[in-house]
């Protein structure tokens, strides 16, 4: 049994021998990229299916061409250049804010965060999605500590006119305080976030108000019909 005492050593040696001839297939990288592309496609499809299952109409819009890199309005040394958008699994398709029973705002909770990747705190002044009317409302200003995150909770006023179509490109414009004044950076939003926003836009406050009014009218009509039926004398026989 002495030859078994060095079992770990022999095991390691034989494991190396056993796999020495294993070479990864030459097209592995290509296969990985194809699988990643399929996954992205499936995710977008799943989002649309979830939206349909939730009874939300999906607006079919062409996918905008995206620039590969964020447009950096701030210089590379600005604290804004260390911000990034991180996708998360949470997020809602948006609710509404009413004041005295009247719809005032659409609230959209996008499934993601703005993260500070810098080693120092960053003071965020504002977050907007140009062309959509969506903006974050901070009490005054927000200081993100290193590694800190803030959810992408944005609101859009009912009165806001975003025009007949959605913007061709969805970016998050973040303004931050700098030593030489405010600077801003444009960060591309992840595809899933954009897909959710499209769904959210499809059930815009105006459409929701119209749908609710129609539902109320239908309910009133049904109630009137029921009342009439109840008022009729029971038929003989």
């Amino acid at each position: 049994m002495s030859d078994l005492e060095d079992l770990p050593g022999r095991l390691a040696s034989q494991m190396h021998t056993a796999t020495a001839a294993d070479i990864a297939p030459p097209d592995l990288l290509e296969r990985v990229h194809r699988a990643a592309a399929r996954r992205r496609h499936r995710n977008a499809g799943a989002l649309a299916m979830a939206a349909i299952a939730a009874g939300v109409a999906v607006v079919a819009l062409p996918t905008p061409e995206r620039s590969p890199e964020p447009e950096r309005l701030a210089g590379p040394t600005s604290p804004a250049s260390d911000l990034s958008v991180v996708r998360s699994d949470s997020g809602r398709l948006g609710g509404s804010v009413t004041v005295d029973g009247e719809l005032r705002e659409e609230r959209v909770e996008l499934p993601g965060y703005l993260r500070n990747n810098a080693d120092q705190p960053v003071t965020v002044l504002s977050m907007t999605v140009p062309g959509t009317g969506l903006q974050a409302q901070f009490p005054e200003q927000l200081t993100l500590v290193p590694g800190g995150k803030v959810p992408l909770t944005l609101t859009r006023s009912v009165d806001c006119d975003t025009g007949p179509a959605l913007p061709a490109q969805f970016d998050l414009r973040v303004a931050v305080a700098g030593q030489s004044g405010p600077t801003s950076v444009l960060l591309p939003l992840p595809e899933e976030v954009v897909a959710l926003y499209r769904v959210s836009h499809a059930c815009s406050p105006e459409r929701r108000v119209a749908d609710e009014a129609e539902a109320r009218a239908r309910a009133a009509e049904e109630a009137r019909r029921q009342a009439e039926k109840a008022a009729q004398p029971p038929s003989a026989g």
């Binding site: 030859d3 494991m15 990864a24 297939p25 592995l28 699988a35 991180v86 899933e192």
Partner: protein
């Protein structure tokens, strides 16, 4: 989410540099070359998805994913009719001239008999040469658990040595 060109380049360089070594780890974890390619592709696809968020240790991320995928596959196979791997079909009677080949095939077969956690610990500790602490971090357990799992796995392999001459881990040169 698509990667920027620079990130894509980094990712491609990582895959080209590390795929052979990771495939060998996957082979030992799954016990089958075909399955190893499948789980490696899956693991790299997940890596591509999270590439932006991974801080400096893509190797550890892929290894952890390989362990998880191999465990999932093992559980799935336990519920399915047994597959016959190509490695099993290649087995030949032991002969001195083919001792090394037999060792290799028998070793894969011996590893296959271990539960996934024990197999993962042995592969990570003795093939990937990770420390107990690194293995514990990667698998998500304590160092003590790694020690006890290693001990149990080795003991289990030793238990199969009732006939040392025929056992894959016995020293053939001494017989």
């Amino acid at each position: 989410m698509k990667l920027s060109p620079a990130q894509q380049e980094d990712f491609n360089a990582f895959v080209l540099a590390r795929s052979n070594a990771l495939l060998r780890t996957a082979h030992l974890l799954t016990g089958d070359r075909g399955h190893a390619e499948d789980v490696l592709q899956q693991a790299l696809e997940r890596l591509a998805r999270h590439w932006r968020r991974i801080d400096g240790e893509p190797d550890a991320y892929v290894r952890r994913t390989l362990v998880n995928l191999a465990t999932d596959r093992w559980r799935l196979r336990a519920r399915r009719p047994q597959e016959t791997g190509a490695d099993g079909l290649e087995r030949r009677p032991a002969a001195d001239a083919h001792a090394r080949v037999d060792d290799r095939l028998d070793l894969i077969a011996a590893l296959r008999t271990l539960p996934p956690r024990q197999r993962a610990v042995l592969v990570l500790r003795y093939f990937d040469d990770l420390t107990e602490a690194e293995t514990a971090h990667l698998i998500g357990c304590s160092v003590g658990t790694v020690k006890s799992t290693t001990s149990r796995a080795l003991a289990r392999l030793r238990e199969q040595t009732s006939s040392p001459d025929e056992h894959p881990l016995s020293s053939r040169s001494s017989t």
